[in-house]
Every structure is written in C-alpha cells, then in structure tokens.
Symmetry: C2
Subunit: 141 residues, 2 copies
Amino acid sequence: MDCVFCSIISKKSQAVHIFENEEFIAFMDKFPINPGHTLVLPKKHCQTIVDMSIEETGKLFGLSSHLAKAVIKAVNADGFTLGQNNGEAANQIVPHVHVHIVPRFSNDSEVGRWPSRKTASIKDLNDIAAKIRKYVEPISL
Amino acid sequence: MDCVFCSIISKKSQAVHIFENEEFIAFMDKFPINPGHTLVLPKKHCQTIVDMSIEETGKLFGLSSHLAKAVIKAVNADGFTLGQNNGEAANQIVPHVHVHIVPRFSNDSEVGRWPSRKTASIKDLNDIAAKIRKYVEPISL
C-alpha cells in the first residue's frame, strides 16, 4: 500500500520532524497555511478516526494540544486551530489520520477564510522546527 | 462573567442537546455549516485548550470522535471535520472551548472552502438531534 505518511513514518521518505514516540509522530507540513503548520499522526495506518478507538483518538489530540503550545510559542502566533478532516468530502488529502496544528495571526486572511497554502523551503521548515523542538516539554501519554 | 456557553450548561439558556455527562455537554450549532453541525464542550469554563490538561483535552476529543460517528450516521454524511479554534485570530467566536463536528457532503462547497453557515429552525435542530441521539452508543470516559 502506497501511503505517503506511512513512508515518512518508516523513514523511506523525508520530513522535518518535531516529535516522535512509539505510537505517534509529528512533522512540518510542506505546504503550510502559516509558518509552524504541523501535522500529528498515529503511526498505525488508519484512514479516518472512525477506525480508531476513543482512547487512541484522545491520545492523538492530547498530544496535539501539547505540541500546539510549543508551536505557538515558537512562531509567536495570536491563536491556533486544531483541525482533523475525515474523507475526501471533508478535504482530507492523504488518507492516513492526521491532525493539523495551524497557527493563526490577526488579520492573516479574509474573515472566516483560511490563508492560502504556501510552498516552504526545507531550510525554512528546519529553522522553525528547531525552534519548536526547544519548546516541546517532556510528555508521557 | 457572561459566557453564552456557561449559560447553556447551567440551563439558563436553551440549546438542543444530544449528550451530557458530568464533565461534558454536546448540542446543535444554531448556525450550522451543514445539517448535523454539533458542538462538544467541557462544562468547566476554559477559554482555550491551552487552559486544559492533556488528559482533559484527550477526553474532549475522544468524546467528540465518538459523537461524530452518530452524527454522520444520522445525516448520512460523506465525511466530517473535527475543528477547534483558539483565540479571535483563529476565528473563535465564543471564548469557551468547543469542538465543532462538521458533517461534509461531496461537492457541498467550492474546493478548500467551507459551506456558508445557515440559520436553522428549532424544529429542524430538534428533528436532527432526535436522530443523532438514537445513534449515540453508551460511553464511559
């Protein structure tokens, strides 16, 4: 099965990581809505959260909220959204569960709209990830 | 403190409920993006998830994923998004933590855009909530 995210998890493909433990991994979105846009994933391949238990989903989002604190400090954001899309109809592009941590800045878009996605350089992603990693507090789930 | 959601939690204001336990409550959004749009909240007043522990956030989203399964069955959705906004910059309207369960239907909007919010009648909300409640499986958190 050709899953882009499974390929990153197994280190066959590269990504700019900020966190990894036995069950979860987090790395920078290559087409960020804003600087610091991070994805948090279960390593186990699940297409949507309908395939996950309540406990697994709870851990995934608990971890996402924890990492979001580091992300917003690193990029000095004014707010952030946790978003998780299930199914093509919900604009899920990669069919492997992932939570978006999207930092937001005052007036970064028209009201009620998302800012457009950008193409980030690997250098930019590495620089931001290095800052984020410094702010990630130890966690046990 | 005048919090619209605290007022609903204390039953001073009305809402169309689909779930309640000691710590959490879920009711229909009065201005749904799509039919079935539901809000899930901690009863404790927290402005953003930065004020919540990892465990509390995990429970909130675990419950949200559980309720989402009932919502999508009730409205026969093609997909759904869990979304949670923190701060005005992230388009958080009511400053009391809430998770949006947004059912999505194929081609319900322009690509990458949200459908517009509608004004739902209480009758419509009651009818949908009655269907959702039938699909909510028992849960212990």
